[in-house]
Subunit: 496 residues, 2 copies
Amino acid sequence: MTHPAYDELAATWKRLHHFGHLQALASWDRSALMPVNGNAARANAMAEMDGLLHGIRTDPVLAGNLDRAERELLDDMQRANVREIRRDWNSANALPAELVQAQSLAGARCEHAWRTQRPANDWAGFLANFREVLSLARRQARYLADRSGLDPYDALMDNYEPGMTARTLDILFGDLERWLPGLVRRVRAKQAAESTMVPVGPYSRAAQYAIGVETMKLLGFDFSAGRLDESAHPFCGGVPEDTRLTTRYREDDFVGSLWGVMHETGHGRYEQNLPRDWLGQPVAWARSAGIHESQSLSFEMQIGLNRSFIGLLAPRMAAHFGAQPAFEADNLHRWLTRVQPSYIRVEADELTYPLHVILRYRIERDLIEGRAEAEDIPALWDAAMASMLDIDTHGNFNNGCMQDVHWGSGLFGYFPSYTLGAMYAAQWFAAIRRETPDLDTRMAAGDLAPAFNWLHENIWRQGSRWTTSELVTRATGEPLNAVHYRRHLEARYLGS
Amino acid sequence: MTHPAYDELAATWKRLHHFGHLQALASWDRSALMPVNGNAARANAMAEMDGLLHGIRTDPVLAGNLDRAERELLDDMQRANVREIRRDWNSANALPAELVQAQSLAGARCEHAWRTQRPANDWAGFLANFREVLSLARRQARYLADRSGLDPYDALMDNYEPGMTARTLDILFGDLERWLPGLVRRVRAKQAAESTMVPVGPYSRAAQYAIGVETMKLLGFDFSAGRLDESAHPFCGGVPEDTRLTTRYREDDFVGSLWGVMHETGHGRYEQNLPRDWLGQPVAWARSAGIHESQSLSFEMQIGLNRSFIGLLAPRMAAHFGAQPAFEADNLHRWLTRVQPSYIRVEADELTYPLHVILRYRIERDLIEGRAEAEDIPALWDAAMASMLDIDTHGNFNNGCMQDVHWGSGLFGYFPSYTLGAMYAAQWFAAIRRETPDLDTRMAAGDLAPAFNWLHENIWRQGSRWTTSELVTRATGEPLNAVHYRRHLEARYLGS
């Protein structure tokens, strides 16, 4: 079979992969290593590269090549690759250049001002910039909706979670919302009667780094194709062939750095194990933001807070930080799974986290679809926090609706991916336990292979070969649902 | 004055600067941080970028723009910029693509095999690959000579040391050769009568890093626009806006890391202080390899081995490594300036180093100009080492003619820059001492400003505004000559 149009497309995306490598490295370095005064030159260099990448993706010759390639005789992987190339091409070609530029400027201005407005609790100041950001995001959503035939909010979400719709989310999140607040109350009542020792620091940066590296090795991270460094906000960057994780250290707390490392290791192993033969082609990209988050949460939550795994970590903590009674495994497990409703999403425990996400999903959807305006956000926020978490955020914008960077910088449609990831992860582990009923026993003995092999076979090496819903059904035998997530949370937090 | 052709050229070279930033970062990272299995992807990404950069430089539209810009009304800096753009353009457009590719392949093959052939002392194996490398370098030299009207060896050298010719080198190096071997003998006789305490290690990596950073600060390195990291071979990389030095550590020796740091700091301060308003344009590039080396040697040798400066370092060594009698400043100075002819150029002392360079210069020039063939190298090498350094290298290829990476990878015409740099540096410091007769007293008091101010004014901020010979004459009132170098060496090593 000859397929000249396909071959040309594949060559173009290989070229994008090569240039993208340099851009990914520059981005990682900017966050992890770059000295402060290197910023202007770096920004210019990366903007030049953005222009080049956009120019390649919007080259008029691609439209015809795509049409022709879709009619060529291709094998399954090639067909899946063309489907994903089409997605990438659509997303680069969907928006007028003036809108992209206006969004970039308005988002940067609003985000920059937010950094000082948030600590100053200055909602009015934020609102002045944010109105423009929202207005542009609505235009973006309409453009994407016109091209895709999706509803405007779904069209935005499609950038991160292709195939996911608000209709499906309403079912999934509606389900959660019915039982989760009650579960939080029951767990809190149960935990109120428990006594827990709290470990005492300080924990040196060197010891935290050392236990972080040891834990990454335990979790199978390949250090011959990756690194661990430090940055203000932990992330997984680099490229599949050279995956770079970061974490941050506080001497009075080791949980933030260590569970952050586990979280990023989940992202990292996904990247390191994407289909090697296809690297560089969109079919070898990670499937979606939600699937990516399902890997980080598999490592951080499903494995990382599992009692058996904590049994593996406990002696390592004593070795690195010095022995203390609180490092007894049962105590550690109790301490690490305490539930406490709080203001801040990124600091929330496993059980209350989804409520933060649902709240944001409902508000941002109303904003995009015109049922709410920017100035309505605080009232909507206060009402939801009160009803879902029994927390009063009235007038507390700093720890309320101004806490996240997303909306101010123009990012709408991403929040659901966090909780979709947690639900996917629970569904993966339900499948893993069906295949390996003695999973916990084996994990307690240090054998993590059953989980890793399943994830490798069913998720990592599949890349973007299947649509997300095909991937989930092939891997677990059923579409995404909240049943496994509920069972997981009830088992872990109520022991039922 | 409008100058549309000039403006287009300047925009193109600004674009090259932005892309070059990403390439420089990727290259630095490859040597300093990249995990071993990241290499293939990195090589592909950098090759893609090399292709892009070459494509921009060989765009047919540039030839006409250059011709037109040279006839436009420009100010002095713009004219100098066009002159340097013409140089860069010439060097990108001078060679047929097949030759560039053949050189790249042959050099990579020969260099790769050399890594194992050198320790195995396998000259015959090396020769088998090297013949092709030499033959291609001769073709390269002829192409460059045809375009420039220079002699073939001069045409190669022009890539690194524009304007320098073998005719001038023969005068400069011929001068050195007349008095340097005798000076080495006199110094060795004098030093044989001296008693010197040798400091005793180990010196921890952390302490060596700390004194390295402290010394870089003492030497004025700007850490808000640069870093110090570790690599197998120390170098100065990155970009002028973000200059990245590396060194390497051995626990039994701190001199290698610390004087390596000083050397790279000289390169680094040159880069950090190139003319800011013109950054990105060739007129703001460092002038030449020899001038660059004059900065690293100003820091490593002129300042770094100066008795007054060693007086500043001595208490810092005691603070970082623990006090010991050998850290007394006069003893340190004696120890650090010991002269001992040796096999290896990169380990040679200040006094014997130039003899290693002259030897290589004579051989590589004969090779390029056809007066010697590849198989003649060992005999030429042995004879020169015997006559200049009284060292027998017969049959010892590993520590003889196979010790350098340059020739095997196809690099001819670079060696002279090392010793030109040492001569330039001596000439700078003669001028600095004329302006500041109490330089040593001020240095002893910790005031390095006179040297830095002179270098900044006369070298760093001039970038490539002048030709090398103009730069030297403007800075020192005379063309490059060996007088100041001889005086410097005699003063330092004979106290005369």
